[in-house]
Amino acid sequence: MPEQLRRTVHLTTPPGDVNTVHDFLAELWPEAHGVSDVDRISVETALIELAANVMQHADTDGAGLACEFTIVVTDEAIDMTVRDTGEPGEIQLVGAEMPELDAESGRGLALITALVDHVAYSQEGGHNIWRLTRARTTGA
């Protein structure tokens, strides 16, 4: 049985926002021994982009949103799962292309796909579920 580190945070918007997810990650990293800087930076950026997109697009009625973020760190990979209670299927994660250089928005989903190795979306029991996986690099 390989060792793994699993942490989950629940948040509701408002007052929760992307800073809640940042704080969750800041508490996680000291426990996740040996994660390289590039993995840490990539995971943090991908998860914050996903959180921002979920909060902006899934909360279509402005009534707030309940989300659950789970991270699992193993020797091989870092898995991220985000579950929310928002509108289904509002976000297309696959095939997102980087916009023109002067665009002021639209980079989030393309960034996510550039930062992780695997992106999946599903609906289960009335929840949107996104799963991101980044294979760990070796070395520091």
Partner: protein, 107 residues
């Protein structure tokens, strides 16, 4: 915000430049340009993280400054900021300089 060399206005955001913080940066640049200053340097030494919202604010500021005949340049970016600039190809329009002084070395 403070005065830098050669008439450059230096903006110093701090912490996380995400969807919560980005609007303030966008508004700060617009306010500087409305006040008649158009050469802006964004000192990112105290910024620990940027996301696409933060990048959008910098691009907005760049466009605002250039439309007024000036420019917006960035300095002091950490590894995370440099990675995000690279993956989005934005380093082509937002070259990360080491220091504010170097950003306007031609000024």
């Amino acid at each position: 915000m403070e005065d830098g060399p050669g008439g450059v206005v230096v903006l110093k955001p701090e912490g996380r430049l995400n969807m919560v913080a980005a609007p303030a940066v966008r508004e700060a640049v617009a306010s500087i340009v409305e006040g008649g200053r158009t050469k802006i340097a964004v000192d990112l030494r105290a910024v620990e993280f940027i996301d696409s919202s933060g990048l959008g604010a910098l691009i907005s500021g760049l466009k605002t400054a250039r439309q007024a005949g000036g420019d917006l340049r960035i300095a002091g970016a950490n590894d995370q900021v440099r990675l995000v600039l690279s993956l989005t190809n934005l380093e082509r329009v937002l070259t990360p300089y080491d220091t504010v002084e170097n950003a306007y070395g031609d000024a």
